[in-house]
Each structure stands twice: as structure tokens, then as C-alpha cells.
Amino acid sequence: MANKALEIHEATKTFGGGGNHSILAYVRGRSKAQKKAVVALDNVSLTVERGEIFGILGPNGSGKSTLVRLVSTLMIPDRGEIRVFGHDVQREEAAVKRMINRVSVDAAFFKKLSPMENLIYAARLYGLNARQAREQIVQILTRLGIEERSIGEPLEEMSRGMQQKVAIARAFLSAPILLLLDEPTTGLDPRSKQDVQAFVREIQAKHDTTVLLTTHDMKEADELCDRIAVIDKGRIVAMDTPEGLKARISHNGHAVTLEDVFMALTGKQLAEE
């Protein structure tokens, strides 16, 4: 298997403005439509090594989620190339889908269904044996602190933190070799946040999973990530290890944080949830 888990080369994505494919561009006229164009990603290139936890750090609207959607085959770039373990996400979509899974900021579930029903549905989609999956689901969910009696209850009765843990369990169930975590801890209480972070570390250590983590939580990025790319207005403005990034900033006697790094690189403060 290739040692490069993820290769992104000059990925560009623009929304609105018609481009070459919007029906609206023809109806409204190109000039009016083009005024509304938003560049979500602008020539983004990066490489994630196998087994790495790679962080994408940026404020809301910086292009983090668009990047994750491009990798997870949910969007098609206007330009550029994306490869997952050597497989092109557009030309070899089916192969890529079998290697990845994604946890998004909002736990996307059938909320009337129970965690077990949702996860069995996921297991069947990923070609897992349902009987074996049932045992595995109980094991993973209880490991994440979800009581066994809650596993059969509708998800809508669970807190957001619990739902997010079920989302992590669902992603882990398919044993992805590239796990895409799109702000997985946003909005969680400190305890749930710690549980999720500990589980991510465990997955990465025990199962050789590569993790692409987007976050605007500086502490989380600092503690979890081997390397971090700072993204602003769709462009990568810096990429290094957390220590490497901090070393770029003069410290004037105080300990430099990633917040300082971000402010120095972009002139902005990151929005905390």
C-alpha cells in the first residue's frame, strides 16, 4: 500500500458565479452571476503520510469542510487532483469510498432510529456481516461511554455529545484507513470532547489509521496533530508540525500558542465555538 495516504495537488473549488456548469448562469446572464462567485479553495496542495494525524486549522468559512467533501467524493473540484492511497477520487471513486469514512460536525443520522439500527444500516452499506457487526457495535459504543440500554433507544433522545460519539463509532465500524474528521468535537462538552480525542488517538495508534482532522480548536489541534496546515480564505498559509509553526513566531518571553501563530499568519482571531 502507498505510503502517501492523501495527495492533494492544486485543488480549486468555486461556488456560485456560474462557472461552466450552472443553469443559473445562462438564465441570469454571466456577469450578474459571476459577481456572486465565492472561492472556497484556491490551489490547495498538501500530502498526508500514512499513519499521520493531519490537522486543517482555520476559521469558519475558510474552506476546511469543502476540502473534506472533495476528499470524501461528495464534491468535484473545478481543478486539481486528489488521490487517496494512490487512487484518484474522481476516476476511482468506488475504491476510494471503501477506504474512507467521515464524521461531520452535525451527526448525520436517522434520528428516530436507534444507534444500533443506524449502525447496522451503515454496516450493511460497507459490506460487513450484520451479526458480527452487532457485537462490534455494542463493544465500540460501550467503549465510548454509551450505556448498553441506550443502544436500542431513538438517537433523538441522546445528547449531542452522545450522538457525536455514535457518529465516531459508525465511522470506526467500517475500519477506514483514512478517517476524515470534520470538526468532530465542535459543540461538545469538555468531557465528551476528551473522550472523542482519546478515541481518535487510540484508533490511530492501534489500527494504523490516517486521520485528517479539521478544527478551529487550537488546543485540540496542538495535542492531536502530527502536522497542521493553516488555511485562510481557501489558501494554505502555513504547514508544519505544531512546534514548527510556533517556532515561526517570536515569543517575547511568553509561551507561543497556535492562536498566536494563526493571528500572526492571517491577522485574524479564530472563532471559538
Binding site: 461556488f15 462557472g19 456548469h21 450552472s22 469543502t66 467533501r69 470524501s72 467524493t73 461528495l74 464534491m75 468535484i76 468506488a94 469510498k97 471503501r98 474512507i100 469514512n101 467521515r102 461531520s104 452535525d106 448525520a108 443520522f109 436517522f110 434520528k111 428516530k112 432510529l113 439500527e117 447496522i120 444500516y121 451503515a122 450493511r124 452499506l125 460497507y126 459490506g127 431513538p154
Partner: protein, 283 residues
Amino acid sequence: MTLMTIANTGRNIWRETQASYAFVERNFNLMKRYWGWEAVWLAYSIASALSITYIGAGMEQISGASVDTNYLVLYLLIGTLLWRYLSIVFDAISEMIAWERWEGTVEYTFMAPVSRVTHMIGQTIFSLVWGLFFTGVIFLVVALFFDLNLEEANLLGGAAVLIASSVSFVGFGIMAAVLPLLFPERGAQMTNVVQAILLLISGVYYPITVLPRWMQVIARGSPATYALEAMRAAMLTNAAWAELLPDLALLMAMGLVTIPAGAWIFSRAERYAKRTGRLKRTG
């Protein structure tokens, strides 16, 4: 073909079959959780079927003329039951994206390693099983209220029409499913408009010959028109297989054209949605 290739093909078919079943099982689980809605919808459908059928029972009194009440009751009952069944099939398929948007799971399903055809097959199996069960219950309840005389019916012919009409409606449902994919906010309503037009022009409660000529022309493009004509011929006049065959062939042909065409249109629409970022919008 080597043994390895055969084994791989077998594994792939098994995996896709299992994935298809995922949609069937998920939908039945959702039915269980939304049982209150389903019960209300069933009660409404029974009341609606009875109301329409009673028009036939009361026609002699309404018009003051002598009519074949049994024929009229059966005529309306066939229309209401077949339309209910076809509507369920059409809804379940055409709203497969709308449901996912409403629940917020559309991205998860589209990211899973299953082909869209597998997704559609699962949704179709569910719609056929659920449609037959739902319509069957309505028929059993309505039969308690009327002395239905089916001695003249070609029941096997009727069953064949049901199968052929299902095939033709699946293709139309797939084509309509494109609307919620392309128009997150209004797509689901658009599918209802399509359904309402089919109801108007297909002769569900009346022969299409009573419609204006231009509507009759459009009616000939609706599979429901042929399904209803054939079903009535089978159930009311005991039409022989030879008489049913042209409509059966046409319904199957419509399915054979519209299913692959619908799947192709859907794949293009999916690509367009991915280019323009429309999958992420919840509508």
C-alpha cells in the same frame, strides 16, 4: 473467465445485494418508528377509497337513471386501489433523496461504497412490498363494505398488469427523484406536481375520452393510463390474455426504456450536484 474472477464477481453481487437490503431494512425500521403517521395515512386512504367507491354505489340515486352499480363500484375501486399502489411506488422512489435531505443523511449515503443502482434497487424493493401490503389492507377493508362480484375477473391477468405497471412506474419514479437532487428547496414539491398531473390525465376515476383532446394526447404518455385500462379490462370484462398483451408489452417497454434512462439522468444529476455543492444543502 478464471475462478478468481468468478469469485470476485460473486462477492461483488453479494455485497451489492446486502447493501440493497440495507435500504429495505432501514425503511421498514423507519416505518416502525413513524407508525403513528402510517396509521393515520392508512386510515385516510381507507376513508378516501370508501368515499370514492360510494360515488359508484350512489350513482343510480344521483342521476335517476339505471346504471350497473356493481360495474361502477368496481370501476372506481380499481382506479382508487391501483392509483394508491402506484402512488406509493412512485413516492418511495421519487422521494428517496428528499427523505435523506429531510433526515440530513444524504451525504452519508452518497459517501458509502454502494452504487446508485443498488440504492435504487433497495428503494424499489421496499416500495413494492410496502405498496402491496398497504393497498392490500385497503382492499380488505373496502371489501367489507361492498358486495364485490369478481366472478368475471381475470385475476391472473390483473396480477400481470400489476407487475408490468410497477416496472413502468419505477422508471418514472427514478426520473422524478432527480428533482429533489437538483432543487433542494422545492424538489419534493415538484414530484408532487408530477404525481398530480398523472392523476388528472391517466383516467384513474374516468375514461380519458372525457378529457379535452390535448389532454388525451398527453395521457398516452402516462404508464398509468395503460395500467388502468388493462386492469379494468382484466377485472371487469374478463379480458383474455391476448387482449391484455399489447398493454402489458407497452408497460414493460416503458419500464425498459425509463429505468435505464432514469438511472442515466440520475447519474448526470448526481455529478451536477457534486459540482455545484448541492448535496450538502438540506433543503
